[in-house]
């Protein structure tokens, strides 16, 4: 997993509540057996005017000029502002894969769906939750100023606005530690292999029916 420490990035505002994972990456692209290449199909149904299928040359497809990701001023954005319940719906990890492949490294919003939130941390994508009033203000500023950027410091747990105002955010210490160091969960967990074996042996005695097949 790629480390996340600090990020100074252009911000794109996605001003919709309940953005679901079907919208983030439509199901036809989930047929891929790979982890990469989902970026061109991020928000496919909103981003393009035609219907997308896997294997197309997406650079030749007609873009929806009104969709925020297509506006020239947001080209190259690495931070996305989001509204309530972003990432609701399915457990597809293709959603954070698509966001990352597109170039988004951090999300700043009011709330995220549980599974999506979890999936982000497994991939080095940082979802930041801030109070509604602060997020509202970020949307206002971002829409008003071309080239609006934010500075994110994971170690300090801060988001710094261009006007110098510093917003603090919470993150679970263990997730933070893994993200800062780009640590692979499996490797960390296997340090406890003996404990897992011990737990399993006890369980096998107490509830043998769980180990029948």
């Amino acid at each position: 997993m790629e480390k996340f420490t600090q990020l100074d990035g252009l911000v794109v505002p996605l001003d919709r509540a309940n953005v679901d994972t079907d919208a983030i990456i439509p199901k036809q692209f989930l047929k891929s057996i790979k982890r990469s290449g989902f970026g061109p199909n991020l928000f496919d149904e909103w981003r393009y005017l035609d219907h997308g299928e896997p294997g197309q040359d997406h650079s030749k497809r007609p873009l929806n000029p009104d969709f925020v990701l297509n506006l020239p001023r947001y080209r190259g954005a690495s931070i996305m502002l989001t509204r309530d319940n972003f990432g609701c719906g399915s457990s597809r990890e293709h959603a954070p894969w698509a966001l990352l492949d597109f170039g988004i490294r951090a999300l700043v919003g009011t709330s995220f769906a549980d599974i999506f939130f979890n999936n982000c941390f497994k991939n080095g994508l940082l979802p930041i939750t801030l109070p509604a009033a602060e997020v509202d203000e970020l949307f206002r500023q971002c829409t008003a100023q071309a080239g609006y950027r934010l500075r994110i410091d994971l170690d300090a747990q801060t988001v710094t606005r261009p006007d110098g105002k510093v917003l603090r955010f919470d993150v679970e210490p263990f997730r933070k530690y893994c993200l800062l160091n780009g640590l692979d969960d499996i490797g960390l967990t296997l340090r406890h292999a003996d404990k897992i074996r011990e737990f399993e042996a006890r369980r096998r005695l107490e509830q043998p029916w769980l180990f029948g097949q």
Partner: protein, 468 residues
Amino acid sequence: MGAQTLYDKLWSSHIVHQEEDGTVLLYIDRHLVHEVTSPQAFEGLKLAGRRPWRLGANLAVADHNVPTTDRANGIDDPVSRLQVETLDRNCEEFGITEFRMNDVRQGIVHVIGPEQGATLPGMTVVCGDSHTSTHGAFACLAFGIGTSEVEHVLATQTLLAKKAKSMLVRVEGPLQKGVSAKDVILAVIGKIGTAGGTGYAIEFGGSTIRALSMEGRMTLCNMAIEAGARSGMVAVDDTTIDYIKGRPFAPAGEQWERAVAYWRTLKSDEGARFDRVVELDAARIEPQVTWGTSPEMVTAIDGMVPDPALESDPVRREGMERALQYMGLVPRTPITAVGVDKVFIGSCTNSRIEDLRAAAAVVKGRQVAGNVKLAMVVPGSGLVKAQAEQEGLDRIFRAAGFEWREPGCSMCLAMNADRLEPGERCASTSNRNFEGRQGPGGRTHLVSPEMAAAAAIAGHFVDVRNML
């Protein structure tokens, strides 16, 4: 120790290790695997030179991509075929039990787990699919995971997790005739919203829930995720134990007695404290129909399409306007005036035998309306299909003009060939009415099997209570 909730008991009995910040290494008893979210996990395992920790914990099936029409010639779409073949190959290579496409036990992963007795009370059950919450109906701690976590479970038999808050949804009293578990959960989502359960594990309790069959409880827990909760659960009682008895993966003999004694403890203690309690009066729950593009956009059958002008919150108002535009609906239209083009009875929410019986009871002796282009029934598994055929349900559906298909996820998410065309409107027993979910431009209205059957006959939404 004080009074514990069911969730407390399930959580604490699976802790292998705890970090300082409360992050827990949670032991996983059952891992269900399907073709869409597993290929990258198997690849990761291979690249790292790892093997599955405990083979017997895993059970695999292909369900999302499989055709529901004739399967003799395999899958037409080469991309879908490759994904299913990749699962077959991975299971073969690692030695994981898989029900292949033409095995009678094949079906939707959340239907076959309980059907096989592979889902047992007290287990932690995970799968790379958000509707894993379904298995909580058996007093399991069951939740959906991403592909990285699929790999983590395969490699370590554990997951890193933080304890959620607890919510009790208590429903009391008898349901009206024609009102089902689907209506209960849609009413719950209408009440608390699609983010109402975010950060919570929901326990469903009360006399209404106790009176539900296991099929009904699975429908309820299945859509806990649509209320934002990663897991939903119901305590063990006789209904649970009767359902499990004799199933292929269930214990037998002396182990059965021991298991039952333990399972009986899987309920919240008297006086256990929940972080939030939501109460519903069953008598007041009417048949539900969603009108928008989020499951919380729901109303009773005698309601109307709402008017965004009356919504004071600007983000919500804009969401409603966008939903109505997508759905092609005008504010204040009575729900019963909304016609349907297609009807889909199926999905991990409502494709079990009881769902098919309920729909067939409405359909029996009637005909699908002329304006309905396609009405289809997709049983949840090969065994559900066989059971339904034994009971003659297939003949009832076919005689009425329904198509009777092979099992799979089908038009719930349209990864196979079953889908809506742009602008088509569907009465669907599935779980998500998101934009494009059932096909690009498709318009989904979530309903119960009874209500879907009634809409197929009437050609528009109609109160099934008047048809019973």
